[in-house]
Amino acid sequence: MIGVAFALARREFVRFMRQPQRVVGTVAQPILFWLFLGSGFNASFRAPGMEGVSYLEYFYPGVMLMMMLFASIFSSITIIEDRDAGFLQSVLVAPVSRMAIVLGKVFGGVAIAMVQTLIFTIAAPFLGLHLGLGSLVFLVMAYILSSIGFAAMGFFFAWSMRSSAGFHAIMMVFLMPLWMLSGALFPIENAPMWLHAVMSVNPVAHALVLMRGPFYMQPAQMLADSRWLLALGVTLLWSGGFLLASMARVEKRERGAAIS
């Protein structure tokens, strides 16, 4: 099962690397976002309790999350393309488990997100963020877990879509707001009451807490921090939940109606 998932994920990755525009676009776009928004808001950013944190630094983990979001969106669109082109049907008739089909796509998306985020992690020392080996391990774990969550979420929505235009709509009204209201762009504490309420129930916000942790805490501190542990639990829950829900969707087959 894992072998099949790995083979499908490798296909995703190879396809990604063979489209240089896509590689350049997905790496450059978040960096441009980060540099432009980060530098532009730098002077006006005054978050309470975060004195001394520049906006470039604040926004940094948010950009990581954005890369995962985009990687997930692109890999979800390939589901629609695969169905359109016909490739998907050969996978569906092969004697492979439905779990392998989901994991193949999700791992492919995760691999692409990992390349981007790991490259982007090089910027950390220039922001004055120093990662010990232990923190780095925690950071990579947080990357993997969150990007599984995003990729599974994209899969779940894209599976029954017949056109990529329809998926763009879902992305704009659902996936993007999840990211915008995760605390990636501005801290939850400063938001007006209603927004604060929405943001606190956003599961994606927890992925951000999970990723911010390793930049400011040692592994032992994280394991003792109740907020970080809660974030770990919630992220595990929604990532796993969307994985299972996606499998259930793939399992569902076209059935003939009962004859009356």
Binding site: V14, R15, Q89, S90, V96, I259
Partner: protein, 320 residues
């Protein structure tokens, strides 16, 4: 190899469309080692049947056994024996020929030495040997189809299902593909079920099954099917075909059937055709645009059984 009993498939009603019966208590068997062509006008249910056979749709009622395994109760065992070539290309165009084969092998759990040997066997008949590292997108339509078939052969299927595999190919590539398919089928004693409405492809088949409205109209060898139409027929083209048909029936007492602008007199014995032709010309010369004596081909059997001409079959778009 394939035993279909009492199979029915009803598409559920939705808000806009009422429920539609695509397959209606169908019985069909394909014996081991046979090359069977499944034909029928659009909307006859052959695409739905194909989707059920390859396990992508679950029928409303009935049973399907493939190589002794119940497809509906034990789909994994039944599916492990078959290879499927779809109408739309199921290869990844951005991967090379070799990469596509490797990916397919991974899906079926083939690796190492096993894969190495089977790869030569699967590619041996193709024109792809020196193009294995080329991306599929750079290949011609005919070669891309060869990749599809080669990929299926990797798993050594006992049953090969093909859904209009020659759609979009030029006549020469089409001929090549079907010839190669016959050669492979005989060499490996595979059972082949292929949907097609190109009748030149059906002439060499062991069996031709014709469906309409979800039912089986005929299932016989091409020779026997042609035999159903007598040996010769007279075909008349006319601008006032409708009026002419009525007059031929009433004034000459001949069994005429009209299909569009064409009138066919099918039940004629050998030797009768020429006198009939002369009689028709003498009586209705002014109404006749052209007239001919024709040996029945499979296409004529199809028209006779389904009441549709091949032109009509090609024009209407196939509902998926």
């Amino acid at each position: 190899m394939i035993h279909i009993e009492n199979l029915s498939h009803v598409y559920p009603a939705s808000r806009k469309t009422p429920a539609r019966t695509a397959i209606d208590k169908l019985n069909l068997s394909v014996e081991e080692g046979q090359f069977c062509i499944l034909s029928g006008p659009n909307g006859s249910g052959k695409s739905t049947l194909f989707r059920i056979l390859c396990g992508m749709a679950y029928p409303s009622a009935g049973s399907v056994r493939i190589g002794g395994h119940d497809l509906l109760k034990d789909p994994a065992k039944a599916r492990a024996q078959m290879g499927v070539v779809f109408q739309s290309p199921a290869v990844d165009k951005h991967l090379s020929v070799a990469e596509n084969l490797k990916l397919h092998a991974d899906l079926y759990g083939l690796s190492g030495r096993d894969l190495y040997e089977r790869k030569d066997e699967a590619l041996g008949w193709t024109d792809l040997l020196d193009r294995q590292n080329d991306k599929v997108i750079t290949l011609s339509g005919g070669l891309a189809r060869q990749v599809e078939l080669a990929k299926c052969l990797l798993t050594r299927p006992r049953l090969l299902l093909l859904d209009e595999p020659t759609t979009g190919l030029d006549p020469a590539s089409r001929r090549n593909f079907v010839d190669a398919l016959h050669k492979i089928q005989r060499g490996r004693r595979m059972t082949v079920l292929m949907t097609s409405h190109i009748f030149s492809e059906a002439e060499d088949a062991d069996r031709v099954a014709i469906m309409k409205d979800g039912k089986l109209l005929a299932n016989d060898s091409p020779q026997a099917l042609r035999g159903q139409l007598g040996r010769e027929m007279v075909v008349v083209q006319s601008r006032n075909a409708e009026a002419l048909e009525a007059r031929i029936r009433s004034e000459l007492g001949l069994a005429a059937r009209r299909h569009g602008d064409e009138i066919r007199l099918e039940e004629t014995d050998n030797g009768d055709s020429l006198p009939i032709l002369e009689k028709l010309l003498a009586a209705y010369r002014a109404d006749i645009d052209s007239i001919a004596i024709k040996q029945p081909a499979l296409e004529d059997v199809f028209i006779h059984l389904t009441g549709k001409t091949a032109g009509e079959v090609e024009q209407t778009g196939e509902a998926a």
